[in-house]
Homo-oligomer: 403 residues x 4
């Protein structure tokens, strides 16, 4: 990838904790105000792959609430005790510059919880899915034009949605395209509208959440027609990350995992949204799959998520693994993970944008299977073993010529 | 490996907790009285490699204390609450049969702590290293002859020794062979005497402890002269096993591990021996290396070991990992491992014997690097990443033709 | 209390894990086959209070399932690895003797989950509440007569019930007594039938569960009329016990508890019953009250209970306490409790029987407030601080003359 | 205590983390810039006792290093992420005012580690103990005079010292006073020099560390002669605090604690000083005593302390309690405490000053036994049960009339 390539990173939910951390991070990296810790794309193995430097990345996005990127960063500073006042000051002009790229998101197809949170915000109630797609797509096109961007990568960081109730309209693009112009097409979730707007505008779409996005036969069909590049779903940042190395350990040692119970406490907006039982269910499916896929279907797994306001952006996860060893001996392992959600997610979003731009530069299309390393529910990949996902990523990037 | 191949498994310290568990396990497996949980060699990937079945394995060994294998099993039942009275009963005739293969170990070159534990036992104070080697080697030869064994694998399960103070006599086989017949050759630790007896008798020698064994230039030279097969050192059963998957996780995500502190509580004889500061030091070196080799030299690492009698054979390890992520955010992970030491070690010893016999069948010699997966300090291998060690093992075994 | 006093201990659910452990424990104590560890009543401070010795206690009870006390003990041995075959053998004649005092429980008023578990057991579907009370009361009277007992203490160890939906019939004894003879009086839970049978027969009734029992105005009124002695509710055995000393610590140090989250994993029948959301709700209320009552209403509390079959009788609880200290500094404490439920409950049941017999000897009546130390939801007591509950118990017992 | 009473709080080690936090806290409280969380003396039960308000407290102290109070606060802000820049700004004038009361400490009698840390600082190498006492006492007198203070409370927050090797000179005041003027009196630790200076100047002396201070027969004798008021030793802030409520829980339930193992990780100067094995030994004695005194001498206890630089002022302690319950069942409990050392200690220092001033107002002398609640090794008190210590404190304060 040539030095001069300019990449736009468009975030759905840009004013949230992760979104503002991504913007802050890109600005801080570009100005040399922070280390590259946490960025996978900065590992030495990728140093010759010509990934786009942060200084060539421009941030924009859609947002429902009135909050600005700078506000998001300051809130993180105050409530979660992250970074320093100095760091924010040193990049506040950049954040204001990015802020000018922020546009109103759509209220069409959002869950009740999100509608509640976004009340009296800047979200628009578009008349029809078509109208929403057109407006959102226009924002992307104007972003690209205004900044003379070579590639635009759209990453969904919006609140998790409940699982969509599938109907025949989701099954084919012809069925779906027929309903898009109708007013009452409530069955298309907001994440899918953003996804459609992205691929119709020639952008890459990556879902960092467990929401529907492109995960409908109709949308996959459309992505194929358009030769779109896409990836997802549900960023693997904490507890599930640990599971994806521990479960293989038990498997490699032929230890019999009897039960694996996880308790997740979190206090940010994500946790607030997850209080809705349906939304929580869609999240837990992803968290649960890792262990079962690696140690076998017979294991008892339990994943609980509790909203604990006092934790703010800090997530505490406790896992208890009960296993049986030689001669039927029952043993146990437990771990507690205390991580800051947005600080774990933000660098991965930057990584994803860089790896996606790399693919766009070489004209690739379809699902980016080599990015399974980053996701709880990798599209089109069944392998949940982190080490093997990592090797797949490295092989893929290193195999392709640097421009 | 043909069905009829008969393999002898000779254990240094056969009457200890691990030794008696190995004997009990082999007998129970041969009689179909237990599952194969915990045996790596029973993973489906090895099912066509023709590894020797437990029913074709005969156990023998050296011991210093008066205890019998059956006593060892009963003690584990009583004190640590392992397996069941029924299981012991169902194989007690086998254990008595194995007991007839037990011979007196040597008191030459043992540490003060071991001498204390072995007081009024059956250990012999051999006059010279040569005399000891000759006697011990005779035991091996007679074991092989009596049971018409195709291969004999010697595994050291004896108490950990303090690190040897190296001198010129350790540097070459010619120097060492000159002192072997002298009475005062105190600088050769017991583990090295057993190792020498093993390789001089054409057996494979594997060190499951951090003791010196073959780890002296003089002995490596001798092993090369004889074309010996060997492996080790220090079985990776619990805390270090977990480290060997967690440390790569931090590395793959470019997270900066600031400090990694481990506390190990154990109450068995191993723990008792480790109360000696010098012996503990030799053990800790191995436990520490894993993290540093994977996440970098600059990390602060601390490993503590405490003898807690009430735990008996149960080992409790607590690790606290302090790491820094994006934008300098400090986070933490901790885990507690509660495992039964002998039940974790015993199946690995059986695995090692089977994999070693596999090598002997195909006439291999030198260090078995592909067994790094099993050890804290793998001989001639720097890779401490468990997943990569596992793939090396699989590739090696699967690559070689089944007999 | 004179040496010759004979006390009957009648357990609702005598064949369950706790019930059989109580029976086993009393027999083992009487025969001097075990230590008194875990028995509060054996603390030195009570040594001169003349509490009834285990040798003078006779066990009987009601049961719904077909299991025998001896079977219960053997199941605990096999599945949870408790005590030893030898211990069971040494008291099996006693357990068979106690078994002759076991009678059929009632299926009237049990929850759907319990009905399921008790299917094809020995439980009787009594026609009306009156009929059930008469039959159950007859069992108690005959137990007392047959063994020439001075006092009978009934302890409810049955499965937790969902909270009863209160109606006017629960408000006064006259209202309730009118409906007892009617067939369709489904609104009286089984625990209340046992409680009524107990007090009508002049027995002391203690509820070791969160079920309704005497906790209805109508029944309290009846207990007062009869001058009954009673106590409860919901034995404080593990996680809540720890909370009842930790919460006061935070309070005494003026530390501001922000949130207190608990996760309970358990695999026994109690856990199975608690899978029913309504039953779980009734249990959680009790577990939650302790923290709020001590550190204040404003704290966020969360208590989760998950049924993890592999744990059997072992309960694992993890609590995370997030608190704020000086200058608004947020800190955290977490603990993991790994206890065997029946082994923690059984000695407390014996304690309760001894302390209750002590009260009966001196002709006391009403709620035994000094037993708050043993319960999550102590009747008529708001103090949840363990230390203060303990001093109340000691003061009460020591204040009364030894017979 | 009248409103107008002015109290001086003189801190040995005023520029350290705890010292600067005390100064910051008093200033912030006086200006109403922070809550009273963490202050025991602000519990409602003491609201009518007329304790001196923070606004009437003046801070001064001795220091060896060149650091200022304001620097200490800023360092805590930067390295440990405590409080906010705003808070520091709002009281920086107060901290500068307090700074004018800071005087040079003595290098006489400090440990080698402290001498190293204090190198090229402001500490004075006084010629003799007498000279040191005179100089230090002069600082106290001038502090009192300058600020027209009613009472001066000296609290030792200096680095922990190794245990003193006792000799005959420590046995009586007459023996000791003979050597004070001699140059070579190396056997008198610095903490004792400060203690002597304090009591000779009519101040109250409280030791918040495990150092010797007044804990020598000679000094106790002198304190008695002078009618001094004193208290200590070793503030109970974290792990030991938890032990002092958990150990009584096991005792009250007659559970048999088999072993209690603690691991303490800390990264502040206190931890650095504790790397010296002798100093560590003096600290561990105190941490260990609590459990043994409550659950009995026979329990195995282990306390480890590791210096982990990355933690800075945060202390992580992990305790593993192995206990036996009914019928010999072994169970376990573990906890992890993650607290900020200086934020836990500072409010207790303020509490101690207020309670000491309360005693001085009423003319009390001798050891303040009712302050056992605050210490690991309470002077002249054997009771380590936190609840009972708390009640003693409340009874004592409430019993005495408010002025």
């Amino acid at each position: 990838m040539a030095r001069k390539t300019r990449v736009g990173l468009w975030l759905i939910g840009v004013g949230g904790r992760v979104g503002s951390a991504v913007a802050l991070g890109i600005a801080a990296l570009a100005r040399g105000k922070t280390e590259t810790t946490g960025l996978v794309s900065e590992l030495p193995v990728f140093s010759k792959s010509g990934l786009v430097p942060p200084a060539s990345m421009i941030v924009g996005g859609h947002e429902l609430r009135k909050t600005s990127i700078l506000d998001g960063a300051k809130e993180a500073r105050m409530k979660a005790g992250l970074f320093s006042d100095d760091l924010i000051r040193s990049v506040s002009s950049d954040l204001r510059r990015f802020e000018r790229n922020v546009r109103a998101g759509t209220l069409l197809g959002v869950s009740r919880t999100v509608a509640q949170i976004a009340k009296s915000g800047r979200g628009r109630r578009d008349r029809t899915p078509s109208a929403a797609m057109k407006r959102l797509g226009g924002d992307l096109a104007s972003f690209r034009r205004r900044h003379r961007l070579d590639h635009v990568v759209v990453v969904n960081l919006g609140s998790s949605e409940p699982k969509v109730r599938k109907s025949s309209m989701h099954e084919s693009w012809s069925a779906m395209s027929r309903v898009l112009a109708r007013k009452s097409a409530g069955a298309i979730p907001a994440s899918s509208l953003y996804a459609l707007a992205a691929i119709e505008s020639g952008c890459c779409y990556i879902d960092f959440t467990p929401s529907t996005g492109l995960d409908l036969p109709a949308l996959r069909e459309r992505a194929e027609q358009l030769g779109s590049l896409y990836g997802g779903r549900d960023g693997k940042t904490g507890e599930t990350l640990v599971k994806s190395v521990l479960a293989p350990m038990f498997a490699m040692r032929n230890l019999d995992v009897l039960s694996w119970t996880g308790q997740n406490l979190l206090g940010n907006r994500d946790g607030q949204v997850l209080r809705d039982p349906k939304t929580k269910a869609s999240k837990i499916v992803g968290k649960d799959a890792v262990v079962r896929s690696i140690v076998g279907r017979s294991v008892e797994t339990h994943v609980a998520i509790d909203f604990v306001r006092s934790l703010d952006d800090w997530k505490v996860a406790w896992d208890y693994v009960h296993f049986s060893g030689f001669l039927g001996t029952k043993m146990a392992m437990q771990f507690t993970w205390q991580g800051c959600d947005s600080m774990l997610a933000a660098p991965l979003v930057i990584d994803l944008a860089r790896f996606a731009a790399f693919e766009m530069s070489r004209g690739a299309s379809g699902p980016m299977k080599h990015l399974a390393f980053f996701f709880k529910n990798p599209i089109a990949v069944r392998d949940h073993d982190l080490a093997s996902q990592f090797h797949r990523l490295v092989r893929h990037i290193v195999a392709h010529p640097t421009q």
